[in-house]
Symmetry: none
Subunit: 199 residues, 2 copies
DNA sequence: GATCGGATCGGGGGGATGGTTG
DNA sequence: TCCAACCATCCCCCCGATCCGA
């Protein structure tokens, strides 16, 4: 049971609508609101959370875009390419290298999807892929052994993107992956050289 | 004002029909029942009670302010921003860290609401939110499991504010939260550095 | 006995390091 | 065999929330 505080006139109004002797305010309210006696409704919370990059959830959204047929809204900080991203506050304030790494990839994807797709295919290690599409499908499809191996690399979805990246790598390797991606995609040399300062 | 007792589910139903932050159950009921507004306007019910922060009840009240359409009166000690707060007697004499923590947040909210709102969204832990709006609604809406988790963090309404904060944290973490909030809101570095002395 | 502040300690994630492969 | 490149184990630190003491 809960106690709520209401103004006197509202209280009078409720009592004025009494229909049976001994009816409680609560019962009267139910009737007035056309609610069943045993009302049991859960209002589901619909908050799509982006657990992987915690920092800029509800930031200004721009650029409605289409990914896999679904429309998405991209945070402003990620919508204007790598160069602008480097200058953005959210990027500078982010301390976790993996997050910066993924933010860059998001920005790059939206800057040039075709080039990104091509570069993603070429960027891989000796035994493992570094990037790919549709992580969920991959995780569902592979056989047990391969799956264990795959998971060891800690692949994660790149936010606002149909791609995933490997996450279990030291910073040096993350730089290598970034460098390869940016080179293949044709980013200018001076921007590529900034990688080691930025992440 | 009258108090009436209602079942939990009815209470949830009422809160589920909230349309504006800070709306009281009474106001919601009026709308649902198509009743005119009361002539006597409520202030008390919107204002989070200050039973948690003791002993400045009879203190000078200043700065009539608007929170979500309701007018409130703010204790002088909390009305002039963080810097003044640090120098105030009530703050210095307060021994409970959590109270000081919340006093600072109240002061910060009134010093710059927009910045506060933005900073509150960004300030969060790995799995839990640190601040948010409308605790009542949150508590009524979430599903059982999430609710238990949420409650473990002991969220409390920040007095004179539509926000709540996590309270179940050690002092070190409270400092981290404060630091993040103040940085994001753009407080000067020297004030931020005083956090570890002040709380 | 009940409540409340918040230190303590278990758990989880980031990514450096040591081991492995070609 | 040795070296370079790569992999993924595992350490350390951060975060959460249980629980102890006031």
């Amino acid at each position: 049971m809960k106690n709520i505080e209401i103004e006197d006139d509202l209280y009078k109004y409720i009592l004025a609508n009494i229909e049976a002797f001994g009816e409680t305010p609560s019962q009267i309210l139910r009737r007035l609101l056309s609610l069943p006696d045993a009302f049991e409704n859960t209002v589901a919370s619909v908050t799509p959370t982006l657990k992987s990059i915690p920092s800029d959830q509800k930031v200004e959204l721009v650029k409605p875009d289409i990914i896999d047929g679904a429309q998405i809204s991209l945070p402003a900080s990620l919508a204007h390419g790598v160069k602008i991203l480097f200058e953005s506050k959210v990027f500078k304030q982010e301390t976790i290298v993996t997050h910066k790494f993924m933010m860059m990839l998001t920005a790059m994807y939206h800057e040039n999807k075709d080039a990104f797709v091509a570069a993603a295919q070429k960027t891989k290690g000796r035994t493992r892929d570094y990037l790919g599409q549709n992580l969920k499908v991959l995780l569902a499809t592979e056989n047990k052994e391969e799956l264990t191996l795959l998971k060891a690399s800690k692949p994660r979805d790149i936010p606002y993107t149909p791609f995933w990246v490997i996450t279990n790598a030291n910073t040096a390797r993350k730089r290598i992956i970034m460098t390869q991606m940016m080179s293949t995609m044709g980013y200018p040399q001076d921007l590529i050289e900034r990688i080691k300062e930025e992440i």
